[in-house]
């Protein structure tokens, strides 16, 4: 029998489609690990903001951890809390969001979701398919993840004639995105492409376009890979030709690697960067999980 | 310093208007050192307004206030206290969440090195209350005190401040004779020390007993200032109302002995009231007398269903009423008029009509919706019936004069045309002219077959109006008087505990 070991998993609360997916996959993989390793105890905890996540990490540490997998709501404010755990000799894996200081003094393993790439891939697609497009952007919330995506997007369209008409915050929320899109449609008589970097917001954007009956918009690029949007890509929806993958399942990947590290002593230290895969009609079926809540 | 005539505080040609409505017309008034100067007039005559001007709470629209013969602009919001002018407002001016001690020293706390000296403040409060013979706990929170106890706190606050001028706007409206006597002793003591008093009251006997001079206002006009010794009660009443007043009380009418009993209370107890029993017949007016806190209000509230009762029965027209259910009491034709008109009686931020019809809305609705015309008609009727005078018909109730508020409250309770009426202090703050009207009204109600209970601290009212009087003491009914036994002397003996019914 294997010795008993505890893995703590700290993730954001399911307050949005994508984070909902994270919770789903974290719990799925937790069960899987506990089934594979009889001695394993995997505890998944969610927190709504950075301060309470710092608390959650502390609470997990109190229970005696052998490993911590953390997907930070906001990485920088959590560095101190993570370090405390790390300094106690615990194996630490950070997922998705990197703190500005991201070296082996903070964590053992970094599974990077690539926010920069998410923006970049979307930008490149637009550059390739409609190099003269006039684009409106709907941002998420004013936090670093969003900033990275914007920077990536700007890099992606660099050197083309793509013109950004406006950028506004849609708070990663359907209703807000609906409003912002309605107002864009009022403000700009001609829009070629909408980049809204998130599948949840795309729901609102599509609804606003449909209601206005506008035909000038060629397509909408969202991101993350929710089952609804992947389905649209699969079905060849003209408005959603592609989706940029930013899989919430990455937390599961990190958990599996961590389990391998502490149970099987597999050396999995360092950085693993995930791609921001472009989902097209051709490969969509690979990414379609109808049972996932996201 | 000091005027040759010894005039401390004076108003010269003072006028006042509120939003275009003039309530004082060039009034003159002067207060001598060491005198008690009574200010009298009908409800809405402008007495409260005048004393507010004389204490800085309002500024005159024209005319002057003179302090020691010098024209002054009194500072607002009680800051005139620093100049030795102190006022007890007609309505309570206490914060419900504070304790008695905290209230007494609010805004002028005693501190030592910036720290509150709570001990000293408590002691001073105790002393002031003792002087007035008030059995109020200095640590009690105001919210828990009955109306009369709050009034005692207000009085204690004012007379403990070593003021040169103390203004009292109807301080005795909720006090019984005994408390009033103690208060008068204190006033006389301070007067001998040179303090001057302005005393506003509707109680003629008090004015005659206490004051040196009287000033009478009518409709905002100065009518007369004279030495009290030159006046009689009738004369004052006549000057106030502008007409002769016949006897204040209508002829008493004893109901028939075998008239049916409409209200019977059997052995009722609450947290404070113990084993109260009485019966009320159709057409009867029954009085409840007693000292402050003797439990009259609590008994009435338990009878009507505003308070839980511990045991006992209340039968209206022979049917037992469920305990603590005001709706059932009302449905049985009962009504209760509270003494705390500001806290429990009227919505101060609303207009007169809203208040008038608040508990009788069903009479003004058709198919579920309210008919404003019907409400307006009711308002018009009430205005005539109770002589409610407001110079601006859209005025919010909180800005009306105290007496007119009381009349409106009475009208509100009578709107439902109840047949068993419990009235707590019916004429609190009401002028003699209107008092007479109200007495006639109550008497007419009884003649018409209604049954009325009058809880009153005004002895003449109980004696002049009622054919049966119950006296309460410490939560118990200690005696019931009928017919010729109803005298001040007898009532006092029961109330003070010198006599108990067998």
């Amino acid at each position: 029998a294997q010795e008993a070991k505890t893995i703590g998993v700290s993730i954001p609360a399911a307050d949005h489609g994508w984070t909902g997916g994270v919770v789903y996959h974290a719990e799925r993989v937790a069960k899987q690990i506990m089934a594979e390793h009889p001695g394993a105890n995997v505890i998944v905890k969610t927190s709504p903001d950075a301060a309470s996540q710092a608390n959650a990490i502390q609470d997990l540490a109190v229970q005696g951890l052998d490993a911590l997998v953390i997907l930070p709501t906001d990485p920088d404010p959590l560095v101190n809390a993570i370090k405390q755990v790390k300094d106690a000799g615990t194996f630490v894996a950070i997922v998705d969001r990197a703190p500005s200081q991201n070296d082996s003094s903070v964590r053992d393993l970094y599974v990077a979701g690539n926010n920069f790439a998410l923006g970049e891939v979307a930008g490149q697609y637009i550059k390739a398919n409609s190099p003269d497009a006039e684009v409106v952007v709907i941002r998420g919330m004013p936090i670093p993840i969003d900033e990275e995506r914007q920077a990536g997007f700007d890099k992606g369209i660099e050197g083309s004639n793509v013109k950004i008409l406006d950028r506004q915050f849609g708070n990663w929320n359907r209703d807000d995105a609906f409003k912002v899109m309605q107002d864009y449609l009022t403000k700009f008589p001609k829009i070629d492409v909408v980049w809204c970097q998130d599948d949840d917001m795309a729901v609102g954007v599509l609804q606003a376009i449909e209601q206005a009956g506008r035909t000038d918009i060629q397509y909408v690029i969202a991101g993350a890979g929710s089952k609804d949007m992947i389905k649209k890509v699969m079905d060849g929806d003209k408005m959603i030709p592609v989706d940029v993958l930013y899989p919430p399942a990455m937390v599961g990947t990190a958990m599996e690697l961590t389990a391998a590290a502490i149970f099987d002593q597999v050396p999995v230290r360092g950085t693993y960067v995930l791609d921001a895969t472009l989902v097209t009609k051709d490969n969509a079926a690979e990414f379609y999980f109808p049972d996932s809540p996201f | 310093m000091g005027d040759p005539a010894g005039i401390v505080l004076a108003a010269a040609h003072v006028s006042k208007e509120f939003a275009g409505v003039q309530v004082l017309f060039s009034v003159d008034f002067d207060l001598r050192k060491g005198e008690v100067h009574a200010l009298m007039g009908e409800n809405g005559a402008g007495k409260s307004t005048l004393v507010k001007i004389l204490s800085g709470f309002e500024q005159p629209s024209s005319g002057q206030v003179l302090l020691d013969g010098q024209p002054v602009t009194l500072p607002p919001n009680g800051l005139a206290e620093a100049m030795g002018i102190c006022i007890i407002h007609q309505e309570f001016n206490l914060a419900e969440d504070l304790t008695v001690t905290e209230s007494m020293f609010l805004g002028r706390e005693i501190t030592r090195f910036g720290i509150l000296d709570r001990k000293a403040m408590r002691a001073a409060t105790r002393k002031a209350l003792n002087q007035l013979g008030a059995k109020v706990d200095e640590n009690a929170v105001i919210r828990t005190l009955p109306v009369a106890a709050r009034q005692m706190v207000e009085i204690a606050k004012a007379i403990s401040r070593d003021a040169r001028v103390v203004i009292m706007d109807e301080p005795t409206a909720v006090l019984t004779k005994a408390e009033t006597e103690v208060l008068f002793q204190q006033i006389r003591r301070l007067k001998a020390e040179g303090t001057s008093f302005i005393f506003v009251s509707h109680k003629l006997d008090e004015v005659i007993a206490l004051s040196d001079r009287v000033t009478i206002l009518r409709d905002g006009q100065w009518i007369k200032t004279a030495a009290t010794s030159d006046l009689t009660g009738e004369k004052i009443a006549q000057l106030m109302v502008g007409r002769e007043l016949s006897s204040l009380f209508p002829q008493k009418r004893e109901p028939d002995v075998d008239e049916e009993v409409v209200l019977e209370v059997r052995d009722l107890s609450t947290a404070f009231v113990k084993n109260a029993s009485f019966r009320l017949r159709r057409g009867e007016i029954m009085g409840f007398a007693g000292l402050i806190g003797s439990g009259r209000t609590e008994l009435m509230e338990a009878v009507i269903g505003l308070r839980p009762r511990q045991h006992g029965q209340v039968l209206a027209n022979g049917v037992a009423l469920p305990a603590g259910d005001l709706g059932a009491g009302m449905a049985a034709g009962m009504a209760y008029l509270t003494k705390d008109r500001k806290g429990r009686g009227l919505l101060l931020n609303n207009g007169m009509t809203t208040n008038l019809t608040l508990q009788s809305l069903s009479q003004h609705s058709r198919h579920g919706y309210l008919v404003p015309a019907s409400e307006a008609k009711a308002m018009e009727r009430a205005r005539r019936r109770f002589d409610i005078r407001a110079r601006d018909p859209r005025i919010v109730v909180g800005r009306m004069s105290g007496g007119n508020q009381q009349k409106l409250l009475l009208a509100k309770v009578m709107e439902r045309e109840p047949r068993i009426i419990l009235i707590d202090e019916p004429t609190r703050g009401i002028d003699v002219g209107t008092k007479q009207q109200i007495y006639n009204f109550i008497s007419a109600l009884a003649a018409d077959g209604a049954a009325v209970i009058v809880v009153s601290s005004e002895m003449p009212e109980v004696i002049g109006l009622c054919t049966k009087v119950a006296v309460m003491r410490e939560g118990r009914i200690v005696g019931q008087l009928e017919g010729d036994d109803i005298t001040e002397h007898e009532i006092m003996r029961y109330a003070a505990g010198l006599k108990t019914a067998a």
């Binding site: 997916g21 506004q168 864009y184 403000k187 996201f294 | 809203t354 809305l361």
Partner: protein
């Protein structure tokens, strides 16, 4: 004495007396500002958009007018909306009735009942439990939102049947006599609410209870019942908002309706209702909701403002709107 002049005369078109006009003046000023910021602003299409999407907050605010007039507060409306909408969609997805029309009707009735039940729960916890409404409804806010998250398992709950979607769409996107359905619903609801608040005994009792509980009690008004009923009316209004919300996006998630409670309360207060109770203005609340929506719209349409500063400006404009409103109210 803390006496404010609450003028008594009100016509059925509500509180359109001199003082109540203030929020509408603030609205007019905003419209002017908008016209300056962007020529498209004043277009019928844009104004119609704004009015239409302010409907949710306006409808919720109408209900909040009752709760606030009666001296209470309901912080749970946003999550109540999410919860009710989620259950409604799940019911539609489960499709226990074959006929789509009947199914939709049943779902709508269900939503109304759920909304009212949620309101009732809020009312009972507040009155029977004697808990400050702020805390009681903060608690139920957590409960309703938590249940929504749980129902959706952190994801979205989406209306599946295309048929139902098509059948239901007009409830939001359709129009009645040329007026977009949400605007029509808001106007009708407000008329009904104004009638209840100004022309029935119940409305009078709401105001009395909010003004002074003791006076109300001594006037034989069943205070707790009146307060609870106000919460139920709030729940009903939330349910009506749900009936318009579901056909719009056909989907809910854990973030649906987040912060809407603050918007609704702001709309009510900007519209002139006093938060301390005792005075309510139905049309003012609707106007307040419009003002809030317009502020956001103007921000987006104007080209000068950094997207980072929008939040700050919205805050500032709310304060300015209140100042305008107050200084007007003092003048008239």
């Amino acid at each position: 004495m803390a006496i404010e002049d609450t003028t008594p005369r009100r016509s059925l078109l509500g509180d359109m007396d001199l003082r109540a006009v203030a929020p509408f003046v603030a609205l007019a000023l905003l419209l002017l500002l908008g016209a300056v910021a962007n020529p498209n602003f004043i277009s019928l299409a844009n104004l119609e958009n704004v009015a239409t999407r302010s409907a949710f907050i306006a409808i919720i605010a109408v209900g909040a007018t009752f709760v606030i007039s009666s001296g209470d507060l309901d912080l749970s409306v946003g999550s109540m909306l999410a919860f009710t909408a989620s259950l409604m969609i799940m019911f539609l997805n489960a499709a226990p009735i074959a006929d789509p029309f009947l199914l939709l009707l049943a779902a709508m009735v269900l939503a109304v009942l759920i909304g009212m039940a949620c309101g009732l729960a809020n009312g009972l916890i507040t009155t029977l439990g004697k808990i400050e409404p702020f805390i009681a409804t903060l608690g139920t806010m957590g409960i309703y939102r938590g249940l929504t998250t749980w129902l959706s398992q952190g994801g979205a709950i989406t209306l599946e049947s295309r048929e139902i979607q098509d059948l239901y769409r007009p409830a939001y996107f359709g129009s009645i006599l040329g007026v977009p359905a949400p605007i029509a619903v808001t106007v009708l609801l407000s008329l009904a609410a104004a009638f209840v608040l100004y022309r029935t005994s119940y409305g009078r009792h709401v105001v009395a209870v909010g003004s002074n509980r003791e006076v109300a009690r001594y006037s034989s008004i069943k205070v707790d019942r009146v307060r609870t009923a106000a919460f139920v009316i709030q729940g009903l209004c939330v349910a009506i908002a749900v009936l318009l919300y579901v056909p719009r996006l056909g989907s809910t998630s854990a973030t649906t309706g987040m912060m809407w409670e603050l918007q609704a309360i702001t709309a009510v207060v900007v519209g002139g209702t006093a938060l301390k109770g005792g005075y309510g203005r139905v049309w003012g609340s609707v106007c307040g909701a419009l003002i809030l929506e317009l502020v956001g719209n103007i921000m987006l349409l104007s080209n000068f403002i950094s997207e980072y500063l929008i939040g700050a400006l919205q805050g500032a404009i709310i304060i300015i709107a209140m100042l305008v409103q107050r200084s007007l109210a003092r003048r008239v």
